[in-house]
């Protein structure tokens, strides 16, 4: 993935961005308000804790079952989609996926693309890629539209413009769309509606993501509230759906528990306004719908996660965003600080497979391991355990076998290794330990006042004048 002037570079400077974000009072306020709102909405949808726990376990089993036969299901999906008249494409990398999309675009001499919300297309930086080839790519989800207008990236996977308040959107619309300044949200949405309405039928191609791809029936299921997803997949003559290879489920009925978990966890709704199940292009006697439907299946590091049974659970994800909504780190630094397409806890465990640990080395440590993400995950991904695992992969010697991850050992340091080795020796040898205790207490005056990061925000530690062992011996009257 290349870094562009208008997109965040690979997240090497995570710490700096996080530092800036925690000092941005407006951003902090916007996120705090939004996260409190989303947590309360979700909680209201699950009044029965027992039902929630049983449904989470069910959702986990449905996803685990699909992954346990993933190659078979992908082939079944392909066969059934093909039978239904949908063309299936495979891409190992985002470059390949973009090339496939570009080929379709070029074959139709398309100039305008309208997009429903798709995180995989963000992963591909499809807008940027197509613009580079002279094709206009317009986002039609209100949040995505706002973010695109401001030349920004989504800060949340469900609510892309969550970092902005109404006043900020009002200024943006006023500047970019030359409309009167208004903070009235209804009016702002109507401005968006009017601006985009004509675009839907001018567009040559519609692009969407996929929430669930159903192998049994050869269907693509999309959920949404606005209707832009239905527009993008119905009005233009060509529909291209892009999705990750993990999104497949075995049977149509498998979507019932997942759908319930998804909408209730994501936005606290019993169901979204639209559930849109697409099983093919327009038939001869039908009067609307695209003449051509394509599905692009993207790997982009997913098969690496798949190869390890613990890391494979990362692919259970149904992209509800509940983990970020409940994350104390995400709430305080917002989505942009991560510098990755997928922010928050899920981003921290999925992005290393996409970009390599070398580009995401700080992400696994950007967590207090409080466990909130794992507790709310509707498909029970053990996110904290996977974060710990990634920390381990981060410091394993780069050449050590087995090699699970691209960028293994990105934080490996020989000095740190030696330090821990010394620590272990010290703590496993009683004689050495006693000697160290004596030295630390008797020579405490030698500890410098400045010991790196420790003393940036605190005073230097001051050992007691006698060790705990000595004090205990005194207390027990021993000599």
């Amino acid at each position: 993935m290349s870094a562009h002037a208008d997109t965040p570079a690979i997240p090497i400077s995570f710490k700096r961005r996080a530092h800036d974000a925690v000092h941005d009072a407006q951003l902090r306020k916007n996120f705090r308000g939004a996260m409190d709102f989303l947590m309360a909405k979700r909680a209201a949808q699950f009044p029965d804790g027992d039902e929630l726990e049983r449904l989470r376990a069910f959702g986990n089993r449905v996803r685990a079952r699909a992954l346990s036969k993933l190659p078979d299901l992908l082939q079944r999906l392909e066969a059934n989609l093909t039978r239904n008249g949908v063309k299936v494409h495979w891409a190992e990398t985002v470059d390949e996926a973009n090339a496939i999309v570009h080929q379709i675009v070029a074959a139709h001499e398309a100039k305008q693309v309208i997009k429903g919300k798709s995180m995989v297309s963000e992963e591909m930086e499809m807008n940027h890629y197509l613009e580079g080839h002279g094709v206009d790519c317009l986002e039609s989800d209100m949040g995505e539209f706002i973010v695109q207008l401001g030349n920004e990236k989504p800060s949340h996977i469900i609510m892309p413009a969550i970092h902005l308040n109404a006043g900020q959107v009002a200024s943006l619309f006023h500047d970019k769309l030359e409309v009167d300044y208004t903070e009235d949200v209804d009016r702002l949405i109507q401005i968006g509606r009017e601006t985009l309405r004509r675009k839907f039928f001018e567009a040559d191609i519609g692009v969407s993501g996929v929430n669930f791809a159903i192998a049994e029936t050869g269907s693509l299921l999309l959920v949404e509230n606005e209707g832009n997803g239905r527009m993008s997949t119905t009005v233009p003559p060509v529909h291209i759906a892009v999705t990750g290879i993990e999104k497949v489920v075995e049977n149509l009925r498998d979507v019932v528990p997942l759908l319930s978990l998804l909408t209730r966890s994501a936005t606290g709704q019993p169901i979204t306004t639209y559930v849109n199940v697409i099983s093919g292009p327009r038939k001869a006697d039908e009067l609307d719908g695209p003449q051509e439907v394509h599905l692009v299946l993207l790997d982009n590091g997913r098969s690496q996660a798949f190869a390890d049974s613990e890391l494979r659970q990362t692919l259970n994800c149904i992209r509800c965003g509940a983990c970020m909504n409940h994350c104390p780190v995400y709430t305080r630094i917002g989505g942009h600080a991560y510098g990755t397409v997928y922010p928050g806890p899920i981003g921290k465990i999925v992005t290393p497979h996409m970009l390599g640990l070398e580009a995401t080395r700080d992400l696994p440590s950007a967590s207090s391991l409080c466990g909130a993400c794992g507790e709310v995950c509707p498909v029970k991904i053990p996110i904290p355990a996977i974060l710990r695992r990634l920390r381990e992969e981060n410091v394993r010697p780069p050449a050590a076998e087995p090699h699970h991850m691209r960028g293994q050992g990105s934080k490996y340091s020989r000095r740190e290794r030696y330090a821990w080795k010394a620590w272990r020796t010290l703590n496993t040898s009683p004689r050495l330990y006693r000697l160290f205790g004596l030295a630390a207490t008797r020579l405490s005056g030698l500890i410098p006042a400045d010991i790196g990061p420790w003393t940036e925000h605190r005073s230097a530690p001051k050992p007691a004048t006698r060790t705990l062992h000595e004090l205990a011996r005194d207390h027990l009257g021993e000599d």
Binding site: E92, Q190, L259, A307
Partner: protein
């Protein structure tokens, strides 16, 4: 080797020696918490639809054309997109003729490409049938057909849907099984649960994002 073979090859290699997880589908968990006494189903569906700004009208198989006419008149709408090929389309046309009403009826009788502009900018209302309703979530089941195409329930700012009370079921799992969806899904199958909406600006709910601004569900209590 192409991308497809390489991806499938990697996945298969990762699964070597493992057994697929058995399907222990727990349908009780999807039905038991979402079952209602027959007399409560319609009420629950109406309440949930109203909670998301849907309008519901309890009426009958004979009376609904009058209710639709009133709904249109109260909004100053004098034309309706409705299919003459359906029984309800014919019933509504008959009602207008009998009562000397001048509502203009428009049919979606040609491919969308031939009348996009009119559909998008001068079609204020549409009426479609449904295949049933779901009490658990307040949803309508809509399977577009050549007579009532996909955009009919999406583009006009007002969408009116006819729902037979007898076709309101408890939950999605049930209707999926009884109507045997897995064997016969159409090109496009929809669940519609209210008018189009968004909360993308500061979590403030606004209706009429890209689809209908209003949804009126005519519940035919004796049908």
């Amino acid at each position: 080797m192409n991308a497809r073979d390489r991806i499938l090859g990697k996945l298969k290699q990762s699964l070597a020696g493992t057994t697929p997880i058995a399907d222990d589908y727990d349908d009780a968990l999807l039905t038991a918490p979402w079952s209602y006494p027959a007399e409560h189903r319609v009420t629950r569906l109406c309440n949930l639809l109203q909670a998301v700004h849907g309008e519901t009208v309890l009426t009958t198989a004979a009376e609904w054309p009058a209710r639709v006419s009133e709904a249109l008149a109260s909004r100053g709408i004098d034309e309706l997109l409705i299919s003459p090929a359906t029984a309800h389309g014919q019933q509504f046309a008959g009602y207008l003729a009998l009562n000397g009403l001048v509502t203009r009826l428009k049919a979606y009788d040609r491919p969308v490409e031939q009348w996009k502009d009119e559909l998008f900018f001068s079609t204020p209302a549409s009426l479609t049938g449904t295949l049933g309703g779901i009490a658990a979530t307040g949803s309508l089941v809509v399977w577009p057909t050549p007579a009532e195409p996909r955009l009919m329930s999406l583009v006009p700012p007002l969408h009116i849907a006819l729902l037979k009370a007898s076709e309101v079921v408890d939950n999605l799992y049930q209707i999926m099984q009884t109507q045997r969806w897995a064997e016969r899904l159409p090109t496009n199958a929809l669940l519609i649960s209210g008018p189009s909406k968004t909360a993308d600006i500061q979590q403030t709910l606004a209706y009429g994002a890209h689809g209908p601004k209003e949804l009126i569900v005519m519940v035919l209590q004796d049908a």
